[in-house]
Symmetry: C2
Subunit: 163 residues, 2 copies
């Protein structure tokens, strides 16, 4: 079976036979696939009233375990946002009553972000359906193929050159 990236590779082979376009078979597919997958995660978020990106942040707090607190800096790193992006996303989540800001007792510059009870309940409600949805998206692959894919992605990730 061929996909649209195979067509792209054929076009390059015809138009620029001097170039080796095969990296597109990996990187091009991954860019497109990542976006296509994310688009298929959003409906489950939306069913629970979550904007895209909110679950990622709430889940990061949730999986720390009690007391479900992190500094904004930590959330910035885990969410791959900039600090200004994190501030804005936290503003929304705070306005929705899902997180609360409190002063960091160990650093008077800092703030701690805490899951509220409401946020905790919400993330606990949505994470099950969310993971079931992700599992559904992976159904085209066998269990062995999923593990193989995860392993290749890990290897590539660990070998990434610094930016």
């Amino acid at each position: 079976m061929r996909d649209s990236v195979d067509d792209i590779l054929d076009q390059w082979a015809r138009e620029r036979p001097d170039l080796d376009a095969t990296p597109i078979g990996v990187i091009g597919r991954m860019s497109r696939l990542a976006r296509a997958l994310e688009a298929r995660l959003e409906p489950v978020y939306a069913e629970h009233g979550l904007e895209p990106g909110w679950h990622d942040l709430l889940a990061t707090l949730r999986r720390q375990g009690p007391p479900f607190k992190l500094r904004p800096t930590d959330l910035t790193h885990s969410s791959m946002l900039t600090s200004s992006g994190t501030t804005k996303r936290l503003d929304k989540l705070e306005a929705a009553g899902l997180i609360a800001r409190e002063p960091d007792p160990n650093d008077r510059r800092g703030t701690l972000i805490a899951l509220t009870d409401k946020g905790r309940k919400l993330v606990d409600d949505v994470t099950g359906p969310h993971l079931a949805n992700e599992a559904r998206l992976l159904e085209p692959l066998s269990q062995a193929e999923r593990e193989q894919l995860a392993g290749l992605l890990r290897k590539l990730n660990l070998g990434l050159p610094p930016l």
Copy 2:
């Protein structure tokens, strides 16, 4: 070797042992990796004065072969943008003299987007270095692993449920 997603999976196993979080090992890694890879493509674009996303559009025109023309609708699909996003991106590329809009002789509603000579030269200059950069990013994987990864991504892509 473990990566940061392995830590995330451990956290979920501890906090929510009732859930199967393993899909994150594929989908979470892919989302993060796709963004990390894209960030590492941008410096090469920037060296040639291209904004992110411009190369994708110019390359789509280039690999069609002569006369290097497509309708905006086609570009919308290939770039995974909406039509309004495409219009704006085309505005920028037109202002930069890299593409030209001309009336579609076969459809009076339509427009054809054509690579200008300048656009053609630019995309021909940048695609080589761009592909070399992509190849560099894939160096952590052996040739066999790259093919395996491309195959798994293709399979997953082809099996994706409709949105």
